[in-house]
């Protein structure tokens, strides 16, 4: 069975994750849901990084990048949640379809 587990398996998992994330981002009206979608997309990228690091030629570069991405995701989540909280305080709702004050 081990030879069955190759690079493309990981890429498939990554792609699946990415699509789920993208779907989540596009369809959710709850801002927190969108944030969670973004997390999924980022993690899909992580899976790909790790996989390329293990099977590819980049050495540990992929692992390093994935660490960066995790950090980035954490920061993004923190700021994103702060923004969401701020929006909630202002409007009492976190429904993104209501947030149209930037309309031109």
């Amino acid at each position: 069975m081990p030879e069955a587990l190759g690079l493309h398996h990981f890429l498939l998992v990554g792609a699946a994750l990415f699509c789920m994330g993208l779907y989540c981002v596009l369809t959710r009206r709850n801002a927190i849901g969108i944030l969670m979608g973004v997390e999924l997309v980022l993690n899909a990228a992580n899976v790909n990084y790790i996989a390329f690091s293990r099977y590819g030629v980049g050495g540990v570069d992929g692992q390093v990048f994935s660490i960066f991405v995790i950090m980035l995701a954490a920061a993004e989540a923190a700021i994103g949640l702060a923004i969401v909280l701020g929006i909630y305080r202002r409007s009492g709702s976190i429904d993104v379809s209501q947030m149209t004050s930037l309309r031109g």
């Binding site: 981002v25 596009l26 993104v96 379809s97 031109g104």
Partner: protein
């Protein structure tokens, strides 16, 4: 004439005791200012009075000690110096905080601390219902400090500290009952009129300093001056010999502080203060500062005969005119105030004819009897519940015998009855005045008669006849307490016997007083020889006219041979009106100097607001008009072009902005679609 170098080469003694003479009253003042309210609430009025009286007496004891140690020195080395600390040393100006004690200072400090202590004690009795006694006693002590600095200071600048310091205390004490605007206005008047004098004094000091500087060495220190002023001979400014100019400026200061024409107007108003203050400041000590100053600088004044002439003429005029005003006053303190002005005139006559010692001698005797008179008047006023109008008094000798007798003795002394203090000192002055110019003597002689008249008018109106007070006051009439009467008695004794310090040679005396002062002030040797007979004759004449004055007062106010009212109507009543209204001098000053200054001030303020600020605001307006015009050009032409561009972009933007829906989902869809499209396009190629 005076030898100008008489103190130049004396041996100088030094003593650290000296500084405590002024500093102890200063400490007393500080204690009462800072802690007075607390002391008074814990220990009562007695506590603050004890501090004040104690420090005053301590200072007196020090003065006495210093005086006797001074006597022990050789006659020509009687000078003690105490340099406390450097004060101002800039360029050629070198002044220390230093005190000097010589015969002249000794006389002055004895008077100030001696009589001052008595008045402190008296005040405890007089201010028996005063809630702010702490402030009163603190100010009295502060005054003692300033006055002692004035007479002990070893330089003109330090003297000026005392000079203005006494003015401050005088201001604060005249306006002591500050809830009444009459009092504070009198205080302000006193301070401002004094400031005019101080202005002259300062100019005199500056001129002296720079003249000495160009003569070789500048100095403001008294003990250095006599040796230096010789260099001023022949120097002139604006065509006037500088010595004359200096002394005239200084004399302006003296007319302010010592209430001479033309600056005497503040002193009668100053009677608004509590009576002990009038006795201490406005009779015995502060107002004599001008006399002291001339005595201190006698070597300088002796070099300026023209100034002395002015001094003598102004002094004689002051003595005479103030005496005539005194006749018509009905306020007991006002009479005494004009009497003080008149007596100060006597002292200045002496200074003007170069009889320095005689002037200082009269200063001393006057301090005794005038303090006694004021305190006696205070005793009366206190008993009469602060009634000062003599027309409402009368017959008081039955109610307050001690006050009456002491007052009578002092009145006798000021009238110059032979044997009393006033006799010796006044005749000394009159004699010297006669030697200088018989006209001066006539003025002094007439004033002596008028003085005797108005003093006994006061005595008779107050103490004789029927009591004219209302029922309520008469019931409460009483002799004052021992705190007040004992100082009176001591001062009365002084009024009787102080004259024996300076019995003239003509009466078989040795004039010890003049001899004591001689090392400081020197003495004028009169040219020519005058017979003893003339001196006796003049004495007899002045005694005669004094007797006449007393007799006249007795006839009018006791015997009522003439009625005072009919006398007031003489000459259509205008002489009486003129006397009563003090020659309308206040009105004159009010209409000229005061209104002039106020008018100028209003004019300048208007000028500042309207013209100067008007120009500023006007230039701002002009700038704004210019700005509006250039703005219009800018708006229509320059901006027109710019706006066109902006409008075009705006219109374009209006179309394009529709893309910005503001909806996050839309944006995301667009992103995904575009990315997908790009990727797809990339792969396809």
């Amino acid at each position: 004439m005076v030898d100008p170098h008489h103190v130049a080469d004396v041996a100088v003694h030094s003593s650290q005791l000296l500084r405590w003479i002024p500093f102890i009253p200063l400490l007393g003042a500080a204690v009462n200012f800072l802690l007075g309210t607390r002391i008074q609430s814990r220990a009562g009025r007695g506590g603050v009075a004890a501090v004040a009286i104690g420090s005053s007496l301590a200072s007196f004891v020090l003065v006495v000690i210093s005086f006797f140690s001074l006597l022990a020195f050789d006659e020509h080395s009687r000078l003690v110096i105490d340099t406390v600390a450097p004060w101002v040393h800039i360029g050629s100006l070198n002044v220390d905080i230093g005190f000097q004690f010589d015969p002249l200072s000794a006389v002055m400090t004895l008077v100030i601390t001696g009589i001052g202590s008595l008045i402190h004690i008296y005040s405890y009795g007089y201010m028996d219902e005063e809630p702010a006694a702490w402030r009163f006693f603190a100010l009295l002590n502060l005054f003692m400090f300033a006055m002692l600095t004035l007479v002990l200071g070893d330089s003109l600048l330090l003297m000026f500290v005392g000079w203005e310091g006494v003015g401050l205390c005088s201001w604060a004490l005249i306006g002591f009952w500050h809830q009444d605007h009459v009092n504070t206005t009198a205080g302000n008047k006193a301070f401002i009129v004094n400031r005019i004098g101080d202005f002259g004094f300062l100019l005199g000091v500056f001129l002296l300093f720079w003249s000495l500087d160009s003569a070789g060495q500048a100095s403001m220190v008294f003990r250095e001056l006599p040796a230096l002023v010789g260099g001023l001979d022949g120097m002139a400014l604006w065509g006037v010999p500088v010595v004359t100019l200096i002394t005239l400026f200084l004399f302006v200061g003296a007319t302010g502080k010592s209430a001479q024409i033309p600056l005497f107007v503040w002193l009668p108003d100053a009677m608004a203060g509590p009576t002990p203050v009038s006795a201490l400041i406005h009779a015995a000590t502060m107002v004599t500062a001008g006399v002291y100053m001339i005595g201190r600088l006698s070597f300088l004044f002796a070099m300026a005969p023209a100034t002395l002439e002015v001094v003598a003429i102004i002094a004689a005029a002051t003595a005479f005119f103030a005496a005539t005003i005194g006749i018509a006053q009905n306020d007991i303190k006002k009479v005494l105030a004009y009497s003080t002005v008149s007596q100060l005139g006597y002292m200045f006559i002496a200074m003007g004819v170069g009889a320095w010692a005689a002037g200082i001698f009269h200063l001393v005797t006057h301090a005794f009897f005038k303090a006694c008179l004021f305190l006696g008047a205070g005793s009366v006023i206190h008993a009469m519940h602060h009634e000062q109008d003599m027309r409402k008094m009368g017959g008081l000798r039955h109610y307050m015998p001690r006050t009456f007798w002491t007052f009578l003795i002092a009145a006798v002394a000021i009238a110059g009855v032979p044997g009393t203090a006033g006799f010796f000192s006044k005749d000394e002055i009159l004699w010297n005045a006669y030697l200088h110019s018989p006209a001066l003597w006539v003025m002094g002689f007439l004033s002596a008669g008028i003085t005797a008249f108005y003093m006994f008018r006061l005595v008779f109106m107050t103490f004789y006849g029927e009591c004219r007070a209302d029922e309520h006051i008469r019931e409460h009439l009483h002799e004052s307490s021992g705190w007040m009467t004992w100082p009176l008695i001591i001062l009365a004794v002084g009024s009787l016997f102080a004259g024996f310090l300076g019995v003239p040679a003509a009466l078989g005396g040795s004039n010890a007083f003049a001899h004591f002062l001689e090392p400081v002030v020197g003495h004028m040797e009169h040219s020519g020889h005058h017979s003893l007979a003339l001196e006796y004759g003049l004495m007899a004449a002045s005694v005669g006219i004094a007797g006449l004055g007393i007799l006249l007062a007795w006839l009018i106010y006791v015997k009522k041979v003439f009625s005072a009212e009919s006398l007031a109507r003489i000459g259509g009543g205008w002489p009486h009106r003129v006397f009563l209204n003090k020659y309308y001098v206040d009105e004159l000053y009010g209409a000229t100097v005061l209104r002039g200054t106020m008018g100028l001030s209003t004019l300048f303020a208007w000028f500042d607001r309207t013209v100067v600020d008007g120009v500023v605001n006007g230039s701002a307006s002009v700038t704004r008009i210019g700005a509006t015009l250039s703005g219009a050009f800018d708006f229509r032409v320059v901006d027109g072009l710019v706006n066109f561009t902006a409008d075009a972009i705006h219109a374009f933007g209006g179309v394009v902005r529709r893309v910005q829906t503001g909806s996050l989902n839309t944006y995301l869809y667009v992103i995904v679609v575009v990315v997908a499209a790009v990727l797809f396009a990339g792969t396809w190629n």
